[in-house]
């Protein structure tokens, strides 16, 4: 068991196991994230970073173990009971996952519309406000197919923050973007985390992004937490697995299969 487990955290994964077929993806993972913290999960492709991230919102159900959100175990909640929990979250998906059949404005406002708690005008104002925060007010009428990769991510971000969430999850926020656009997204994430006072968890294998947005970096390796520490601690640690990943070397204990 890793020493990262505390039961007092705001988001807690406790002894979480997940297996797909014969492949063990998460092997008794313990991770605790405090309120207001910005945690980045790093690791090789296929190590279960996104799978762990999706567990926090119960988009994936653990085979065993507990997922605690503000002390509430959500591992076995029904869909209806999960709705209020999920409304506390916003998530930016790897490919942005914008709804193809809807314009940008409809994408951003869909969650608010379906929640049924706001008038049409209030939703419109909220959509404009969030699109302003990501600098895309002009794109409100555009369809997702008309947007560039970076713009799609920004619309995905606007959708994620539309419901004023307490927790933001980012799945590979800079993957597939050029370095400049990636930096724009990183700045946006840092800015949003500060402005909205959210707890955030990001998954990435982009170390530039990780160092820029993290208060704490957690490295997954072979289904377990290999290392957890501040960006400075990860730079100076002597764990060979961590150093190979951070420096991006082909030679080392991590073998590419």
């Amino acid at each position: 068991m890793n020493d990262t487990s505390t039961h007092s955290g705001f988001l807690v994964a406790e002894q979480v196991c997940k297996q797909f077929g014969s492949q063990v993806v998460l092997d008794h993972i313990d991770l605790s994230i405090d309120k207001g913290e910005a945690v980045v999960i790093i690791g090789q492709s296929g190590t279960g970073k996104s799978v762990l991230l999706k567990h926090f919102m119960r988009l994936i159900k653990p085979d065993s173990g507990r997922i605690l959100i503000d002390g509430q175990d959500i591992a076995d909640l029904s869909f209806d009971d999960l709705v209020p929990v999920r409304r506390r979250f916003g998530m930016l998906f790897q490919s942005a996952a914008l709804f193809d059949s809807m314009a940008v404005g409809e994408n951003v406002g869909l969650g608010l519309k379906e929640a049924g708690e706001m008038s049409r005008d209030e939703i419109h104002d909220a959509v404009i406000e969030k699109l302003e925060m990501v600098g895309l007010t002009d794109a409100i009428e555009k369809m997702p197919s008309e947007l560039s990769g970076g713009m799609r991510k920004r619309v995905g971000l606007a959708r994620a923050i539309a419901g004023n969430p307490e927790i933001l999850l980012y799945d590979e926020p800079t993957t597939g973007l050029d370095p400049i656009t990636a930096d724009v997204i990183n700045d946006l994430i840092v800015d949003l985390n500060e402005k909205l006072h959210v707890t955030s968890v990001a998954v990435t294998h982009d170390m530039t992004s990780a160092f820029k947005i993290a208060d704490r970096i957690v490295m997954l390796y072979r289904g377990k937490v290999e290392f957890a520490g501040t960006p400075d601690e990860i730079r100076s640690c002597d764990n060979e697995v961590v150093q190979q990943f951070v420096s991006g070397q082909a030679d080392g204990p991590i073998q590419v299969r």
Binding site: M57, R87, S95, A97, L110
Partner: protein, 259 residues
């Protein structure tokens, strides 16, 4: 020797899994109906997408179904020496009981069932279904329920339309190709028409609609991989619903039309 048995066992498990998964989805669909009022705009949109937009295809196949059944019936009548004044009866019965519901459903499975699976499958592999859930929206209520309700209502309506068009197709061939007057053809049709046959055809159509919607959504939701996965799910969806339509049709024949 072991390998074929193992393969058979594996396929058996896959089949049981699929039927179990469809039964669960059906139960979730029924449960989601309690919030049908919140999905009315989505249902109306699907009426248009899955129903109205299928009209041209149903029109074309029904004309030819009616035409060929009149032609073939006339050919058989000639062969056994039966009088052609019974042509209206033969075409009418065959169309209302079997041809319109079954052929419309099969064509509908090819157009709409495939479309549902391809759309939901693409949404699944691009994480759009996860995104819906992350917004606290039930994918069953938002995506599955409107599509199954639309199939359930639109297939019987399309079959009613197909009945009418096929009879007209048969009438045209009878008058122009077989030399039976329209009065004789229509008298024969009216003489043999039974409301219970028509309602039995519509009941079958409703069940076929449910099957097409259910299988289409189920296969879409279990899509994995990229474009290849979507293609495979779409094929499986059409094949499964077509086989189920024919199997259920036989079961209906035994229940509704006892010898």
């Amino acid at each position: 020797m072991v390998r074929p048995i193992r393969s058979l066992g594996r396929q058996g498990i896959t089949l049981v899994n699929a039927f179990g998964g469809m039964a669960i989805l059906l139960a979730q669909f029924v449960y989601s109906l309690r919030k049908i009022h919140r999905s009315l705009p989505l249902i109306i949109e699907q009426f248009y997408q899955l129903g109205v937009r299928s009209l041209p295809l149903i029109l074309v196949i029904s004309i030819f179904v009616g035409a060929v059944s009149a032609w073939q019936a006339a050919y058989q009548f000639k062969f056994i020496g039966a009088p052609l004044r019974f042509l209206g009866q033969a075409v009418g019965k065959a169309t209302v009981i079997e041809l319109a519901p079954v052929l419309s459903a099969l064509v509908y499975a090819g157009r709409v069932g495939a479309g549902i699976t391809a759309e939901l499958g693409t949404m699944k592999v691009t994480e759009q279904i996860d995104a819906l859930e992350s917004l606290g929206i039930s994918p069953v209520r938002y995506l599955v329920m409107p599509r199954i309700v639309a199939c359930l209502i639109m297939v019987p309506l399309l079959v009613t339309f197909a009945n009418f068009v096929a009879i007209m197709g048969g009438l045209v061939v009878s008058v122009m190709g077989v030399n039976v007057s329209s009065e004789t053809f229509l008298f024969g049709f009216r003489d043999s028409f039974k409301l219970t046959d028509f309602l039995a055809g519509l009941t079958k159509a409703g069940v076929f609609g449910l099957l097409i919607g259910l299988v289409g959504c189920y296969e879409g939701f279990r899509t994995t991989g990229g474009a290849e996965g979507v293609g495979m799910s779409t094929t499986t969806s059409v094949v499964t619903s077509s086989v189920l339509i024919l199997v259920f049709n036989f079961v209906f024949a035994m229940i509704l039309f006892r010898l």
